[in-house]
Amino acid sequence: MTTTSWRTAIVRQVTRVGQHLVMLRLELPETAPSVQQLPGQHFVVRLTAPDGYTASRSYSVSSSPGEALIELCVERLDDGEVSGYLYDIVQPGDEIEVRGPIGGWFVWDGQTPAVAIGGGTGVVPLVAMARYADELGTPELLRLAVSGRSAADLPYYDELLGRGATVALTALTGRRLGATDLEPLLDGTDVAFICGSARFAESMSQLLVSLNYPASAIRIERFGPS
């Protein structure tokens, strides 16, 4: 696996969506040739105060490897030291230090037929996978099922709908993703990606196992405060 070092990125675009979400589009100085970009990876963002104090957190990438700018989606957490700064303070033109892309497990190769299941901000790496599938001209290789409290709480809601995702909005309808949603999506896939809160990831992965999906073909990324 390759190594990555800290780099200074320039913030080119800041898009706040509702009270909790901000999409940052970053320009990296150059991509180290040794760093392989695959959809599903994350970057670490490091903030430094004048006295040298630093705080770092990881954020998933929503842009596909083919896009010129790196897009991160950040959920502003209550009392979030880094997410609060990224939502409240950051403007286009600012510099932030990043490290990445990181991760070789929760990534899609763009070739294996896959089902991707996301809850809340857990959809972010799946958006990168979906954009990648589109770029390759093989959107049929990736099936999407996502869930959120409401359309406003679900990042990339319109984009996901446009990509044919099965969408469950729990606050509106009380409906959660269930066997009838997922079963039709599993057939013919060789890997399942599940990303969301610990509870979401646990319930979705156990549901897949109960539908006889092989546990060894399920890749999980757990999201949330950490």
Binding site: T48, A55, W105, R222
Partner: protein
């Protein structure tokens, strides 16, 4: 001039807790769950732990045999690579020394590869799992370790980042070389010393 983030002050600094390695914060009473695989079903009747590799004889312990070994307790801190640390906590189990003392290790033994029933693996230098530094644990703060936290039995190597403390531990293979495990093949550091911030490959 060193890099600073415009308009970033950071949290009000209390005197830094000396138990916190660089880049870590105190998660308090929480204990976040991180996972990459499906949580396996717990079945103590079928639980086993096997020590194999460069040993004179493969040894396997079942749940009753495990609980018959002398208990050992860890009291102290744990550190996750995702930047949280949990301070002043405790675990109950058996020291890894107890298992290693029941086997004759080859003179060339230098590392171990630890495996879980899920297929998860992690590699460690032998010296990081002996000498009172590592345990197989089944209880956290007096309660049975639940499946989300790797129960019924997980490895505990508290002086290294917590991905080394394999959940659902089922096997320890003694090797004469280092063999990267699951996260170590996927971008994370081979050793993972939180005091040296060995988070990713290259640190």
């Amino acid at each position: 001039m060193a890099f600073t983030s415009r308009g970033f002050g950071g949290r009000t600094r209390r005197p830094r807790d000396e138990r916190l390695p660089p880049g870590q914060y105190d998660v308090g009473s929480d204990w976040p769950v991180l996972t990459a695989e499906v949580t396996p079903p717990i079945n103590l009747d079928r639980w086993t732990f096997t020590l194999d590799g460069l040993v004179d004889q493969v040894r396997t312990w079942n749940w009753a045999e495990l609980r018959g070994l002398p208990e050992s307790r860890y009291e102290g801190d744990i550190h996750c690579v995702t930047t949280w640390s949990k301070l002043a906590t405790n675990f109950t189990g058996v020291s890894v020394d107890t298992f290693l003392q029941q086997a004759q290790l080859a003179d060339t033994a230098s590392h171990v590869l630890v495996a879980s029933s899920t297929g998860y693996t992690t590699n460690l230098p032998l010296d990081d799992v002996r000498g009172g530094k590592a345990w197989l644990v089944w209880a956290h703060e007096g309660k049975d370790l639940n499946a989300a936290h790797g129960g019924p039995v997980r490895l505990l190597v508290p002086h290294l980042y917590f991905w080394k403390s394999a959940k659902f531990v089922s096997r320890m293979t003694v090797l004469d070389h280092d063999e990267p495990g699951f996260w170590e093949r996927n971008g994370y550091h081979d050793r993972g010393d939180p005091w040296l911030e060995q988070r990713y490959q290259g640190d």
